[in-house]
Symmetry: C2
Subunit: 111 residues, 2 copies
């Protein structure tokens, strides 16, 4: 598993969400190891608040990472190992992807 | 399938995202039919812009629906059939869930 099977325990809004949606190409080509490493590395960044991720058997994946502010998002985007992964994503792993940066204004849950 | 295997083609920001993350209980109990119906019904609402969804074999799911504005989100939340599904979610289908409402400020993708 490249992500925890649990919801993120984020603080009270406001904070930021990066919604990354993608459609995988066929075959692993190092994807699983990269994905696990990116979760590990991203989680270590200042301002990281949590991550939630799922990928279905049809290849569609949705990963949402939560951040204290935009500065934290920019710092993570510029990480050299992450930039290498971004290039691999464009060239090898993803048939399509989209990134949306959004400010979380309110949140509620089961508990 | 209860959702399309494709990315949503949303307009230029700003617009809103509703990030719904959930952990399924074991067994279907009418879940798949409800989920497909909710996609169909929600998509018919004024201000609906698109939906992206994935669920892994571990039961974790992330669904992001996109909306023109908060008024559209509130109208959909109050839909009677949707409210019945929300009750079923709390009582039967989800071991845990969270809803986050966020304003998309910027977006980019592969193409």
């Amino acid at each position: 598993m490249s992500h925890p099977t649990a919801l993120a325990r984020t603080p009270e809004p406001p904070y930021y969400a990066v919604v990354f949606t993608s459609l995988r190409t066929v075959g692993d080509h190092g994807y699983d190891a990269m994905a696990a490493r990116m979760v590990e590395l991203g989680s270590s960044y200042e301002g990281f608040l949590g991550i939630e991720s799922a990928r279905g058997e049809d290849g569609m994946g949705v990963t949402v990472s939560y951040w204290r502010d935009e500065a934290a998002i920019f710092a993570w985007k510029r990480d050299p190992e992450h930039q290498q992964a971004q290039r691999g994503g464009s060239e090898v792993w993803y048939a399509d992807y989209a990134v949306r940066v959004a400010k979380v204004e309110r949140a509620y849950g089961k508990f």
